[in-house]
Subunit: 291 residues, 2 copies
DNA sequence: GCCTAGGTCCCGTTG
DNA sequence: CAACGGGGCCTAGGC
């Protein structure tokens, strides 16, 4: 089959490995873009291997439905007996093996792998080796139901309203959200055990140490904050005010909070986003008035 | 197209929404199983919607390559502009939106969602709503390159050599791996802050408190173990011997380990698996001699 | 390379 | 229902 014949071949369909193919003249149809869609249905293993090699070489997205076994060996090991799975190989060298249920892949390899397809003893073997940490994923494919190779045109930006970061940005943009007159001195301030999310002073000159959580604040965050306090001190005659900023307090954590002298300031992600939007608007207005 | 005509239709291919279809008589071919493979190539949005509804109803695996935008709203929110993506919907009601790169989906919804496909204003809208926590994922599909619905036959068992658990089992099966004469009293022993992995006595009658890590042991595990110790005591005249069992010690953690009086016993996952296999073999032999 | 922290983490178990 | 820990977690950022 000639991959370069843009106007005569749309879909190559080989049935049950018997070399039966369906060709369709497309000269009369508006099918620009379709020629980049090789789709094999029930190809022979050798046909599938050829297509995989071409797709891997071109770093296309490979989508395969096949019966296979899967072995993983590396940080630990795993074995999965034969069954039909959805196998995805992406252009950046990652691979996902999905079963018919569950959000997570049953086996996978993150991006940066060396992936190859080889014939072996009447089966098709797909190997994905990750150099560091050294680990390898091996699929022994017995039968391919479907194999498609795609080129995804996708330049869109992904925007996530990312919880903790947005809460931090909201506090930085509008420190009043913590309390009237609160001033920020630093954020992501390094202390030996980690980083203080926000660090500032109140109107009395006391040092405020803020730990932000997007989820209900529980014991771990209290411990974390107390740990940080060991390495911080207030100016002479002033106090250290440890404070947790979160949407709520976890169920059993209230007593520990009171006992440890940590303050709690409620801030929901929603409110944080609202603040950011307000500033984005005023930024826009500032920009407008500038022009 | 008649889905029930097992012997006359294999693949329905509709091109660019123009209703062009390719049919192939399969009466002469051995194609059992192929009829369960409806595959649409560049269908119209309405054709795709029909197929999606049928596939969702039948709880099949849906694999779609389409140009779409994606909105997520729930625990946080996200926006993704138009672009071509691989969309997977599984029978248990989870959905994955993958871009051409990266291991992880750009958007998703875990299993247990209510998923529906509807026509809307010349577009196809795919919605996945998760009841708790309440969150929703919305795909506005502008163009479908490919849509396949599959039924994956897969009853195989997945076996993972699961790090910490296997290390614990190895110690329980063969306590000598810790030291000669070590005897186990309990495991997963409850103390207020959590669970002690393994709890036992040495030949001198001292209490040994073991925390297992599959990764290099760092500061957090030292703290955790010291926390547990507060709630444990040795018999009169005996010592408490806190011990970390792990493949190695994290770089900076050695001094803290020495200072805190915690012992370290090296155990790699590999060795643990070897022990388990030895016992599996002896189990088999015991079974054989029994028969 | 190691280590730290966050994630729409997901996922199981337990209270 | 919430909370807790583990994961082949993955991923990004620092050192």
């Amino acid at each position: 089959m000639d991959r370069a014949s843009y106007h005569s071949v749309i879909v190559s369909v080989s049935l049950a490995g018997k070399g039966v193919s369906i060709y369709c003249s497309v000269s009369a149809l508006n099918l620009s873009g379709l020629t980049k869609l090789p789709v094999l249905i029930s190809p022979s293993l050798e046909e599938a291997r050829r297509e995989l090699v071409i797709g891997l070489e071109a770093r296309r997205l490979l989508v395969m439905v096949a019966s296979c076994t899967v072995e993983y060996s590396g940080r630990t090991g795993s074995h999965l007996g034969e069954g039909e799975r959805l196998v995805i190989v992406k252009g950046d060298g990652c691979i996902l093996v999905h079963r018919g249920r569950d959000y997570q892949p049953v086996n996978w390899q993150p991006s940066g792998c060396i992936i190859q397809a080889q014939a072996s003893n009447g089966t098709l073997v797909l190997k994905a080796v990750r150099p560091s940490p050294l680990e390898s994923l091996t699929l022994v494919v017995k039968d391919v139901q479907f194999l498609g190779t795609f080129l995804l045109q996708d330049d869109a930006e992904f925007v996530l309203h990312a919880s903790e970061e947005e809460m931090q940005r909201a506090i930085i943009l509008q420190p009043d959200v913590i309390e009237q007159g609160f001033k920020i001195l630093d954020f992501e301030k390094k202390v030996p055990p980690g980083f203080v999310d926000v660090y500032g002073v109140d109107t009395e000159g006391n040092t405020v140490v803020i730990e932000i959580k997007k989820d209900p604040a529980g014991f771990p965050v209290i411990k974390q904050l107390l740990e940080y306090l060991k390495y911080l001190q207030a100016p002479p005659g002033k106090k250290l005010r440890p404070m947790i900023v979160a949407p709520s307090i976890a169920k059993g954590a209230q007593p520990a909070l009171a006992k440890s002298g940590i303050e709690f300031k409620q801030l929901t992600l929603q409110k944080a986003v609202a603040i950011l939007q307000k500033y984005a608007r005023s930024d826009q207005q500032a920009l407008k008035s500038w022009l």
